[in-house]
Symmetry: C2
Subunit: 455 residues, 2 copies
């Protein structure tokens, strides 16, 4: 232990190595429930690639595990410390190194906050789409590690689609460059993509080349109330089937709507069984909203409210943005699931979740990136009540089983971390697990990078 701290200090400034347990304890967890975390031996906050290499070399020499961290806003425990580990926080490596409007790329360090990048590129008329709800806190490195999504994915896809190239420090301290800064490239196996979503288990991202889009026009939002989940999901199917490309297509179930009403005075109608929100950032969003509004009405919507301008659009989205906070307020704690199903199976997923809530006598609100079939069933429970906690955990698992049964995946955008390890094996099957572990072995033969995550 003394050896470790001394060795770390040899290549890092005084203030970049934290060892006071009261301080390091603050770095033990991300935002997931039900995930154990250990006590780190040290937290390091490097500012350069060389310092990251020093940390990795030290860890390898002394066989100490490394847990890489961004802003710790993750929801699966992927950033949780293990006992005696080095927490490697990348938040001080927060420089935007380049924004190039002709090549439509940005080059960034991993600690750049998502919102900071989004604002910086917008100033140059560009758009970095991935927008997880933690975008004001979360870092690009964390987004890459967890392959995060957001509201925009239905049109713009997830983080993976924006990562062109990476600089990586391997467990033994060697530097690897993957990918490219060009629009296309197929030279060898796609290691860049392998790192996206790898939760820091293959190497430490120290620099990323990101693809950008031209900034689209501001989006206009429509809200539609439905008397049943089935009707709302029918509308979603019609919208997608007709070839519409909304920039956002979100669904709130009855429980979410009531939770939002209980928290703030949003005035959402209590009779709503499902609230659908659609947005377009096209050249003529009003006409797209009109067409989608008609499809909603045809599917049985009882009210359709299109916004006239950006301010009204923002107002309509507020209810959606408040949902997780509102559901947290129900019992104090929530456990947010992240099951993604083919969008044609969305109604079955949401109604099935309601049945699970009833079976376990729990409040489970569902918000969904409906256009992607990506649901976030949010289990509300009181952690002081052991029986309710047990039921919460069991319902959570049953929701994942339902997702798999419907041809879906256990995680659309939050990742596996500690929370869904056992479920990952179930989704991948034994051949898949064996090959994934083989890949882990190639990059990290000593198993020092984020041990106990994923597998």
């Amino acid at each position: 232990m003394t050896d470790l701290i001394e060795s770390l200090r040899e290549g890092l400034p005084e203030e970049a190595v934290l060892t006071d347990p009261d301080v390091t304890a603050a770095y033990a967890n991300d935002m997931a429930s039900f995930c154990d975390a250990g006590a780190p031996a040290a937290v390091v906050l490097p500012r350069t690639v060389e310092q990251v290499q020093h940390v990795c070399r030290t860890a390898t020499a002394l066989r100490v595990p490394i847990v890489p961290q961004g802003a710790r806003t993750g929801l699966s425990g992927a950033a949780n410390a293990s006992d005696g580990c080095i927490v490697l926080s990348l938040i001080k490596m927060d420089r935007i190194l380049e924004i190039n409007p002709v090549d439509r790329i940005a080059v960034v360090e991993p600690g750049v906050v998502n919102a900071a990048l989004s604002r910086a590129v917008l100033e140059k008329g560009l758009y970095y789409p991935p927008d997880p709800s933690s975008w004001e806190q979360c870092t690009i490195g964390g987004n890459i590690g967890t392959a995060s999504g957001g509201l925009c994915c239905v049109k713009y896809g997830v983080t993976a689609e924006y990562v062109l190239g990476l600089d990586i420090v391997l467990a033994d301290g060697r530097l690897l460059s993957t990918g490219r800064r060009t629009a296309k490239g197929v030279a060898g196996y796609d290691l860049t993509r392998l790192f996206v979503g790898s939760e820091g288990s293959l190497g430490i991202v120290v620099r990323a080349v990101l693809a950008l889009k031209p900034a689209p026009p501001e989006q206009l939002v429509l809200a539609a109330e439905f008397p049943s989940t089935a009707a709302a999901c029918d509308a979603i199917c019609r919208i997608m089937e007709r070839g519409h490309v909304p920039s956002l297509l979100e669904l709130m179930d009855r429980t979410s709507v009531r939770a939002v009403n209980a928290l703030g005075d949003m005035g959402l109608p209590e009779s709503t069984e499902a609230l659908l929100m659609a947005a377009f950032d096209t050249p003529d969003p009003a006409s797209d909203l009109a067409a989608v509004g008609e499809l909603c009405t045809a599917a049985g919507a009882t009210e359709v409210v299109p916004a006239d301008d950006a301010a009204e659009s923002d107002l309509l989205l507020q209810a959606r943005r408040m949902t997780l906070t509102a559901l947290e307020a129900v019992k104090g704690v929530t456990m947010i699931d992240d099951v993604c199903v083919p969008r044609s199976r969305l109604a079955e997923m949401i109604d099935g979740t309601a049945a699970i809530a009833e079976k376990y006598d729990l409040t489970i609100g569902v918000v969904a990136h409906a256009g992607d079939g990506n649901t976030h069933p949010t289990v509300c429970f009181d952690p002081a009540d052991p029986d309710e906690s047990r039921r919460a955990r069991e319902s959570f698992d049953e929701i994942m089983a339902l997702g798999l049964e419907l041809g879906g995946t256990i995680t659309g955008e939050h990742g596996v971390g500690v929370l869904k390890r056992e479920w990952l094996a179930r989704e991948l099957g034994p051949v898949g697990v064996e090959l994934q572990q083989g890949i882990k072995q190639v990059f990290d033969p000593l198993g020092l990078l984020n041990p106990g995550k994923l597998f």
Copy 2:
């Protein structure tokens, strides 16, 4: 050898195992120049997953290499046979299993021809964008193996972006399912993407889940003539910098324009130094073309011709489509390079290629997917002339060196195969090569799948 043929026949119908050397020789090559090919021991044409598994099990038991093939339209020798190998042709597995307009996916076997899929999905109002120039012959399996691109990539991206999930037969005959049929998913390392562009060296794709887009409106094309490469590339930079999203942005250099005029009577002006073609499939393509036309004029275009309708658009694109044939006619044989640079460096790439042509006293025409910075310098030579052949080969290498020097990659969409093996190592560096070979070892420990390709 007798053992091998007998064993193969145990799990395959008579007509699915070809051994006549006159017949099997026809399967020895893809369309690359300068790439050696051996004589296969047998060509097998399975129709089912079980038959592919039987072939792989047999190959593993007898330690015989397997060379997977689609339509053999590749340009890097990735499908070339090695002596004594089993050529595993997937062209008989050509069923489209599902097209789902709500989930916007297609499920296909690997032997489906790209154009057949494109037409089938278009009938349902959907669009499968990847459009390599061999689209009437090439198969989806081959497209996945080589990660192919096409004209549409500047707006719609490459094959990799449309592959959601795969069924794979491993070298030992086991079946692996990767990915998903959902819009999003981050369960474990992205093995799906690892297979795209792996040139059959990790496993045999036997089924693919592909993402589809809604069919866009028909595109309108504009052609603009420039007095210099620099002016044309300046126009490209302005177009991209202003946030335009063309569905096609192609460039022909002077040599290509002259070759096309020599072949057919296209009436392209002989004074043209660079011909730019842009297209839009937006709701109002005429207004987009007008805006882009102004940018071309501002950059120095001497003539700007926007099409009024689809027929005129097609006419304008004919010259572009004829280019490779026209360049082939110059000397009988061509060697098509595939260097991709950041689009801001495109002018340097094209002018640099002209200088290389002069240095080696060769005709080298350049067509480029200009919006992607992806150039296809096409070296014309007479294979009966040993000195010219040598100069062709040397110029080809010098073009790749220039691409790397400009921050580019040795292959934007054609892949590595046999042709660019040495160059792959140069682009990846020793750490990259070591890790890529480690991955190969995990999937194919006996080294039976497409040996001698990539590395």
